[in-house]
């Protein structure tokens, strides 16, 4: 399922809303999650999962092709942990 299909499903269930409003609503939800993480916040959606930011320390890496050492800067990466309810549902519980 892609975003436009998700929008379509929501639009079908809400005939009183304009399609373009449904697009804005869906877009707002995902933007809000990204912006929160950009501010270093966690997003906890009980039953679904939680988005958080993990810090990766700076390290000395190696170019696997040339064997040359390179400095890799510290960085922050998005992380998602599946919620218990969804994990159970995925396993037919």
């Amino acid at each position: 399922m892609i975003k436009s299909e998700l929008v379509q499903k929501i639009a079908d269930e809400n005939p009183h809303l304009y399609q373009r409003d449904v697009e804005r609503i869906v877009g707002t939800i995902f933007d809000e999650i990204v912006e929160a993480m950009a501010e270093g916040k966690r997003v906890e959606l009980r039953g679904f999962g939680a988005f958080s930011v993990k810090k990766r320390e700076a390290r000395t890496g190696r170019n696997p092709r040339t064997g040359e050492t390179v400095n890799v800067e510290e960085k922050h990466v998005p992380f998602f942990k599946t919620g218990k309810l969804l994990r159970d549902r995925l396993n037919g519980k």
């Binding site: 399922m1 707002t28 993480m37 950009a38 916040k41 906890e44 959606l45 679904f48 998602f80 995925l90």
Partner: protein, 100 residues
């Protein structure tokens, strides 16, 4: 509730501000977005949200695990796990946002 954690309530508040639906309707819409995503994943579908990321499921084989505290061997049943791969845009936003 910690100011460092967003919940469904904050997402519905954002929808409420953006579109001007009632708070109740906004909350229902957030719930139905998550519901449809979960439903697709449970049915084995991938969920691909452009400029956000991709959720997909993977089947893991049974294996023998070990309780790290006691050293005891425990069987781990075959199971299905969910993985999330963030989009480039998300990675970029999250990294630059946390740099400042």
């Amino acid at each position: 509730m910690s100011v460092d954690t967003l919940t469904r309530m904050d997402l519905s508040e954002a929808v409420f501000r953006e579109v001007g639906l009632s708070r109740n309707d906004s909350a229902d819409l957030v719930e139905s977005v998550l519901g449809h995503m979960a439903e697709a994943l449970v049915s084995g579908e991938q969920v691909k949200i452009s400029s956000f990321g991709t959720f997909s499921t993977r089947d893991k084989n049974a294996r023998i695990g070990r309780n790290p505290k006691t050293g005891e061997e425990v069987p781990i049943a075959p199971r299905r796990v969910l993985t999330f791969r963030p989009s480039h845009l998300m990675k970029e936003r999250v990294d630059t946002g946390n740099k400042a």
